[in-house]
């Protein structure tokens, strides 16, 4: 839905970005900055326009890795969160493992993952998954645990089964937190995929940046960065749209104008 507030917000965001780009362009031209140090936006755009297919092909790979890693992260994260909340004794077993998996620097283990999973798309998906799943677990577990006490009492008074308690009482109330987790996770998944491509492989926007750096083709690197940023924003916005669609009740609405 396009409301007036939304349009005003879009105009504000657009104007700010445009201003920044113009400023950047002006600085590069006025100070005569060498393109291999900092290319002007026009130079980046030109580089992009020369070979749009190049970005398209590599972009698809990165998108595929990002999305696959993200989906696996959501699935694994949901199951882990459910296990932690429903079976409290699992928490002490699972949490240390999850924390270690989160704390290990992904850049450091990327070469090992390459050895394990080969040169192709698999290690990138694994890294995207590894960086993305933690916020999903933590947020969803919080949401599942934060059901109103009275609502749980109601469930008990109706002798709801464990299954009913989970699906009817806990899961829906955790959806807003799941979506917050997913919004963080999707942006992290992009970074994970790029890290994977940095370490090895011959496809993807991360690979393109590596090549560009080796050849001091900074405009190419910036063009790839721009595609990554725009793609990441679109993914984030897509999750937000999905959120509005799936949980319209979680959006703030003015209470009905009526007497009690």
């Amino acid at each position: 839905m396009l409301r007036r507030g939304n349009i005003r917000q879009a105009v504000k965001v657009g104007a700010t970005l445009l201003l920044l780009v113009l400023l950047w362009e002006a600085v590069c031209r006025l100070l005569n900055v060498a393109p291999f140090l900092l290319p002007a936006p026009s130079a980046i755009a030109q580089r992009f326009a020369e070979k749009p297919m190049l970005f398209w092909v590599h972009g698809w790979f990165t998108l595929y890795e990002t999305f696959a890693g993200f989906i696996i992260a959501v699935a694994v994260g949901l199951v882990a969160a459910a296990a932690i909340v429903v079976i409290p004794s699992i928490r002490d077993v699972l949490m240390p493992i999850l924390l270690i998996a989160q704390l290990v620097p992904k850049v450091a283990i990327a070469p090992i993952l390459l050895v394990w999973f080969g040169y192709g798309v698999a290690p990138k998906i694994v890294i995207a998954f590894l960086v993305a799943f933690f916020p999903i677990v933590v947020n969803t577990a919080n949401g599942l645990a934060a059901v109103e006490r009275e609502l749980l009492d109601l469930g008990r008074s109706l002798e709801a089964s464990r299954w009913q308690t989970f699906w009817k009482f806990r899961m829906p109330s955790a959806l807003p937190e799941l979506f917050s987790g997913m919004k963080i996770a999707i942006t992290l998944a992009v970074i994970g995929a790029i890290i994977g491509e940095f370490v090895g492989g011959d496809k993807g926007l991360g690979y393109l940046i590596i090549i560009a750096n080796q050849e001091l083709d900074t405009p190419l690197a910036f063009a790839a960065l721009t595609v990554i940023s725009v793609g990441g924003i679109l993914l984030y916005v897509a999750i937000e749209g999905l959120e509005r669609l799936v949980i319209p009740w979680a959006q703030p609405i003015q209470p009905a104008q009526a007497s009690t």
């Binding site: 009275e150 609502l151 008074s157 829906p172 009526a258």
Partner: protein, 257 residues
């Protein structure tokens, strides 16, 4: 004496909580009973353990000792003949008013076909028929609490337990809902127990008021409210009403002196 057996009977009920610094006695021998279709309030100051009494009757909490019976049977756990209204509406945000009202029937798995009709009927009873498809965040606090009353009634329990249902509402809304509750109670005769810390509310609504003292709770007095039914707002300023309120107030006041 009526010959009918009590719906709810509480005899020498005790509840002790174990804490790090030893045990705390919450209920110290509470006894009262509620006859079928009677409206009884359990009145006590904050922290007096009133809600604990309700939870034990509802089968949601264990007693330490004493006897609690519903319809002549010892309470061993929750039962579907009891409907509960909580202090907060506790509605599911993701369900419309009607869907919230339908929840108990759904969980209990009773009469899927007739449930919807009954749910709408109950919403009509609480005056929210036209809000059936609204979500909780579109309803005012008073309306939300009405939905939760409808939810407690929808699967037609014979007993209604109300745990300070109006304490979070402003005075005007509260008085309004007191009247509504009386109307609902007269239309759907239920054995009702209301937990409250408001003396006027307890007197206005009840046949009898069980007055609890401060922690550890004991029954100070069980007051028979002689006011005729149906109760009207004008009664709130009648001499009889004011006298009973005043007497209960003094009785509780003595305990703190």
């Amino acid at each position: 004496m009526t010959s009918s057996k009590p719906s709810i009977s509480v005899v020498d009920l005790r509840k002790t909580y174990a804490t790090r610094d030893g045990s705390i006695v919450s209920l110290d021998g509470v006894s009262f009973d509620i006859r079928p279709y009677e409206f009884v309030s359990v009145l006590g100051p904050s922290g007096s353990g009133k809600t604990t009494v309700l939870k034990i009757i509802a089968g949601l909490e264990a007693k330490t000792s004493g006897a609690v019976q519903v319809d002549g049977k010892d309470v061993v756990g929750p039962q579907r003949k009891i409907g509960i209204v909580f202090q907060v509406p506790a509605l599911m945000r993701w369900r419309t008013a009607l869907e919230n009202v339908l929840l108990p029937s759904e969980v209990l798995g009773i009469d899927k076909a007739g449930a919807r009709e009954r749910g709408l009927d109950t919403l009509r009873l609480v005056g929210l028929a036209e809000f059936a498809n609204k979500y909780p965040n579109e309803l005012s606090g008073g309306m939300q609490q009405r939905v939760s009353i409808a939810r407690a009634l929808a699967h037609d329990p014979s007993i209604l337990l109300l745990d300070e249902p109006f304490s979070a509402l402003d005075m005007m809304t509260r008085n309004q809902l007191n009247l509504e509750l009386l109307r609902i109670w007269s239309e759907r005769k239920k054995t009702s127990m209301l937990i409250t810390h408001s003396i006027p509310e307890a007197v206005f609504l009840s046949d009898r008021v069980v007055v609890l003292g401060p922690r550890p709770a004991k029954v100070l007095e069980i007051v028979e409210v002689g006011l005729p039914r149906p109760r009207t707002p004008e009664m709130r300023v009648s001499k009889e009403f004011v006298d009973i309120v005043d007497r209960i107030g003094r009785r509780i006041g003595l305990e703190y002196a």
